[in-house]
Subunit: 275 residues, 2 copies
Amino acid sequence: MTPVRVACCQVHIAVGDTDGNRVRVRHAVEAAAAVGARIIVVPELANSGYVFTDAAEARSLAEPVDGPTVTGWTELARRLDAVLIGGFCELDPDGHVRNSAVVVDAGGVRALYRKAHLWDREKLVFTPGDAAPPVVDTVHGRIALMICYDLEFPEWIRLAALRGTQLLCAPVNWPELPRPAGERPSEIVRVQAAAATNRMFIAVADRTGSERRVGWVGGTMIVDPDGWPIGGLDLGREVTVVADLDLDTARDKRISEHNDVHADRRPELYGGNLD
Amino acid sequence: MTPVRVACCQVHIAVGDTDGNRVRVRHAVEAAAAVGARIIVVPELANSGYVFTDAAEARSLAEPVDGPTVTGWTELARRLDAVLIGGFCELDPDGHVRNSAVVVDAGGVRALYRKAHLWDREKLVFTPGDAAPPVVDTVHGRIALMICYDLEFPEWIRLAALRGTQLLCAPVNWPELPRPAGERPSEIVRVQAAAATNRMFIAVADRTGSERRVGWVGGTMIVDPDGWPIGGLDLGREVTVVADLDLDTARDKRISEHNDVHADRRPELYGGNLD
């Protein structure tokens, strides 16, 4: 298979400015497609922003999956012949507010995912999802989807990986935390480890700048199946990270003459003890 | 609890020289104890070396757990009042050759572990273990034990972590592989991620130099519950890495006002899908 160009857009999002956010995201996606990207990832909660004053503010910004944000992305994906992955603040059919994300392509919404592991005050705002991370066959390969703190649960990543994920796409909003000089943000270290542990690509779209005194890591990046960053790690600028990926290489889980990172698992020894 | 001094000894081991290896390991352990270390980790297969010509050579170097290596370690642990963790080439009671490791203290052998995930040609040499990584209560805190490639299976690390491990000790022989300039060895990235994911300390004793054309990473290190290296990463010298650890900090799994890395797991969503 020929390589596919993947782009992760570190877009500026402003809390509460849903119209402005939709425009900025659209411009970033169009610019990525213009340089040949066919899989494009944008951040978590890209319609609403992240640092809500309270649950009521989040609810006031939430919209259904057939609302303007995802409808706009579907039109964009069709017009640009792209697979688009992004996060949005969802009002679900039962009236729950969700931290959700979608995979859309020329065929429409291919997957809707609701974040299952909620970070900090998100627990006061969102109802967590109860479904496994979706794994979607696209024209470019098999893509999985999860959101931010989900990435810190190796079990969640395994679920997606064992279903044949070649590229895991993750909209995130990584808050900046102290770290020792010379060290990468811990979230990045974990993504590198997750990619290598499962020999798959991971594409992350983060935020940059700050919002209501929360600074963002600006950690947008693309990591290869060895766990090496092949795009990104500028840490902070408003930037689109682009890389050409041969996703078929992620089908091969061998790492030595006698090792395969998935076949070497011993699930008969894990199962009963993980609860 | 007062901090405990932990040492990881990157000892030179020579394949086939069991007598010489026992002496070198003893000297390294005595030197570590002399600077106050009370938990001391030495490498994988510290009696035999690693790069066997064939299974017969490994068998010729293997010894039972009551053989000279572990008996010597038990005497050393008693004399130095230390907890000693090390790997050895074992001939088990059924005649199988094992890549094993022990935790010994003044009370004798506290745990015997047989590597469950075998690396490359180890599969031609060793019988894999079928038991979970041991978790041992010592006078200094709760210590778990696994060996080298075991560390690359997040399920295995979770098993130990969920049983309350404060310090995971890992004898390893990390073979040197190519990596991009400026990148840490992938094994180190994964250990950092494993520590942070579970908020526990990890102490690794690796090899240095080379053996029959296999070079070693020399990645001996100690990582804290945030995943930051607090000792080691000199990468290569024959060295003992020392750090004073307050192991009780690893009991606290909270990472924000509303998050706890273990309580935030959703095992009801993981279980049936991990096989």
